[in-house]
Structure formats: structure tokens, C-alpha cells
Assembly symmetry: C2
Homo-oligomer: 222 residues x 2
DNA sequence: GAAAGTCTGTCAGCGGCTGACACTTTGCAG
DNA sequence: CTGCAAAGTGTCAGCCGCTGACAGACTTTC
């Protein structure tokens, strides 16, 4: 059988499957950009690569799943970036720097594509919900790495989960304000994320926002 | 026209509408608890109050909307609780205490109902997504009150948004750990929320979670 | 080349959701 | 009270996401 072909005996069948799956993702995303998520039917996606709708659903359980397939790889890269930060960095600092490292490590074409996708699809509530859900599922894996780095047990110590949740939600506000600003420059998003993450320690502290204090605006825009 | 009839002219028609709407919500939630969210069809809900499915959708744009109607009132109460906190409390402290005040102000029957609902419905991903989405839409209104209390402009100062996002996401982790623990006691949820909110300042600080430090577990369980 | 396993298309159907149209009920005026 | 306009409702037909069942085609393996 000449099964010595690398490891796993890839087989012609599996190659076809993998290619079809990739075609579906590519075609689907293209159509989403052209006509919006809601405006694209699963039948169109299936037809665009020459298969039936039923086959589409044999590859993806839901239309949403195809959408999320595009960002899955990006998420993995972030975990690597976080693991690569030096061990003596405090947790939030490591997360903050990992965002930067991660962003730089994504190749520019993908980065542009993601910016464009965010711009076009940000108004579709179904897309936003899908992304949020994906983020939530991703949260556990980040918390796991945070716990690992800190040398604590996630099951007994809620701190990794608390920090991760706060971290991701702040990133969310940055994304939101970025898309609300109408900017399509991905670097603006990164800047907003950094600004807001750096604000976190001050914001959870008590040194602002009481009517008694009246201090002269510590650092609103800088 | 005799339009001087008070303001609004309740009219028999509007009363019927309001009652039907309430019936739909009540019947719908009861069915959700009995058969699950996914297991209940909009036709069943409509039939259970004697109207057609088409009429159901004239009252609620989506099945989800009916589900969220139940928690809408609770959200309003939280905003009131937050506004009622003394002005000299630091923002995070005010939010934390408002959670407690708010929980105490919800009448026990509603509280029990919500606990039961959370227990039954927490496994349905559609329900979780709906709740998350609702939370996100609610976030802006909380941030508005935080900004108001702090006397800053939300459009120019991201701090209210950052704090609110972190606050809500931490509440989310508390809810998750509560439902994962299998507890059905609503007070356990409140306790988890308080614990985790109190952890926030420490967690975003740099005093933990570096391999260099090796301090003896500051406060994992207390 | 045949048996066994896998992939696919077709068909039928459910549930969420919507537009169109006809019918009934309600509100208001004369 | 009567007649008219507005609003609410039921029925029907249909789109779209998604699924089970079955039969036919294609790989793999022997």
C-alpha cells in the first residue's frame, strides 16, 4: 500500500474533504463580505462550491460555525503569544503585552481581512452574538494559561478567571469604541486596547469618580 | 376630540393588548421551565393563550424577546440601586454594594423564580447567548450611571465603560462558577459575586502570579 | 473485482419568522 | 344608534436554518 506516505496515511479522500471544507470557508466569507451574513444563505454557499445544502451541513453544524472558523486560528496565536511572555511579568502586564505581540505576529493580509470583516459585519447582531459567544468559550483557555503562568490551581483560586474575564471585556469595549469611531485602521484598535488595559488598575481603584475628590482629571486622553 | 381625557386615554383596546402580552410572557416562561427553551415552540405558546402564531410574532419580534422580557424589570431595579448609593463611594465599591442592595430589593418569589430558571435553562446555549446579549445591551446604561456619578463625560473618558465592562464580566464568572457548582441557593450566587468583585483590585495589580514572587497564597478561598 | 465503508444528493419535514389579504373588533363622530 | 376608519387578528403561502432517512456513487481494502 505504500502507506509510508508521511504519517497518518492522508489518503485521497481526506484530502478532498479538507479541500472542500476550505473552499466552503473561503467562499462563505467572501459572500458574507459581499452581501452580509444575514443576506447570504447556506444554499448559496453550498452552490458556490458545487455541493448541496445538505452537504454543507455535514461539514458545519451551523452557519455560525463557518463564520467562527475564520477567527479560530487567530485565537490560537494569542495563546502562544501569552505563553511566550517572560514568567516574571505580572499577569495583566503579560496579557497586555501578549496582545501587542500577537497582533504583530498576524500576517498583514489576515489583519486587513479581519479589519474589513469587522467593518462590514459589525452591525449584524447575529454576528456580534456569535463573536461574543466564541470569545466566552475562548475565555477558559486563556484563564488556563494565566493560571499556569501564575502557578495556581484554577479550580480553587478564582483569580485567573476574574482577571481573564476583566481583560477580555475591556478588549471588547476597545473593539466597540473602535468600530463606533468609524476607523478602519487596525492600529487604532490596538491603541485603544492598550489605553484601556492600562487604565484598568486605576479604574478599579478608589481614586476617582467620587463627588468629594474633585481631582483634575488624572489621565483621560493620554 | 375631547383629548383632555387625562394623558394616554387607557382605552379598552390597550388594556386587552397589555393583558395578552402578559399572558404570553407568563405562559411562555412556564412552558420554558417545563419543557426547556428549545423544546417549546412559538405555536405552543400562542395556542396556550388562544391566539395564532402570527399574533405571537406581532407581540414579540423573536422567541428570545419573550424570554428577555422576564429579566428586564430586574435590570431596571439594579440601576435604581446604583443611583441610590452615596455619592462619595468609589465607583467599584458602589457597584459592589448596589449588587447587594438590588438583590435584597427583589422580592423573594421573583428571586426564587430566577434561580429556578437559571438552573433549568443554563445548559441551553441559545438561552445563554440571549442573556449575554441582553447583558451587553444593558452595559451601556450602567456605564451611563457610573459616568453620571463620577461626573465625567462618557464620550471623552473611557473609564466608566472600562469599569462597567470589567464589573459585568466578573459577575458573569461568578454566575458561571455558581451554576457549575450545582448550587440552587441564590445566596451562594451573591456570595460568589461579592468575593470576586473584592478580588478585582488585587487581581489587576502586579502583586501575584509571577514565578519570582512565591508568596504563600494570599487569599484563595476566603 | 467484489465487499465494506464513506460521501453525497434528493426528498420530506420541522420550527422560527414574515408579507399579504380578508375579516372582525374597537373607537369615534354625527 | 349607526356608519366609518383604525387597529387587531386569523389564514395562507413562503423563505431560511437545520435534520432524518434513504438510495446511489465513490474510495478503500482485500
Amino acid at each position: 500500500m505504500t502507506d509510508t506516505v508521511a504519517s497518518g496515511t492522508v489518503g485521497l479522500r481526506e484530502r478532498k474533504k479538507a479541500r472542500l471544507r476550505q473552499n466552503l470557508v473561503g467562499s462563505g466569507l467572501r459572500l458574507f463580505l459581499e452581501q452580509g451574513y444575514h443576506g447570504t444563505t447556506t444554499e448559496q454557499i453550498a452552490a458556490s462550491v458545487g455541493v448541496s445544502q445538505r452537504t454543507f451541513f455535514r461539514y458545519f453544524a451551523t452557519k455560525e460555525e463557518l463564520l467562527l472558523e475564520a477567527v479560530a486560528g487567530v485565537d490560537e496565536l494569542f495563546l502562544s503569544a501569552l505563553r511566550a511572555r517572560p514568567a516574571d511579568e505580572p499577569p495583566l502586564t503579560a496579557l497586555r503585552n501578549a496582545v501587542q505581540d500577537h497582533w504583530n505576529s498576524v500576517d498583514p493580509r489576515t489583519r486587513d481581512f479581519l479589519s474589513r470583516a469587522a467593518t462590514v459585519l459589525k452591525d449584524d447582531p447575529a454576528v456580534v452574538d456569535a463573536m461574543t459567544g466564541s470569545c466566552r468559550r475562548h475565555q477558559e483557555r486563556i484563564a488556563e494559561v494565566v493560571a499556569e503562568r501564575a502557578g495556581v490551581d484554577r479550580a480553587a483560586d478564582p483569580r485567573p478567571d476574574v482577571l481573564t474575564a476583566a481583560f477580555l471585556s475591556v478588549l471588547g469595549t476597545a473593539r466597540e469604541s473602535w468600530s463606533a469611531s468609524g476607523s478602519t485602521d487596525a492600529d487604532d484598535l490596538l491603541a485603544a486596547a492598550r489605553e484601556r488595559l492600562d487604565l484598568l488598575p486605576e479604574v478599579v481603584g478608589g481614586g476617582w469618580g467620587t463627588r468629594e475628590a474633585e481631582h483634575p482629571a488624572p489621565a483621560p486622553g493620554a
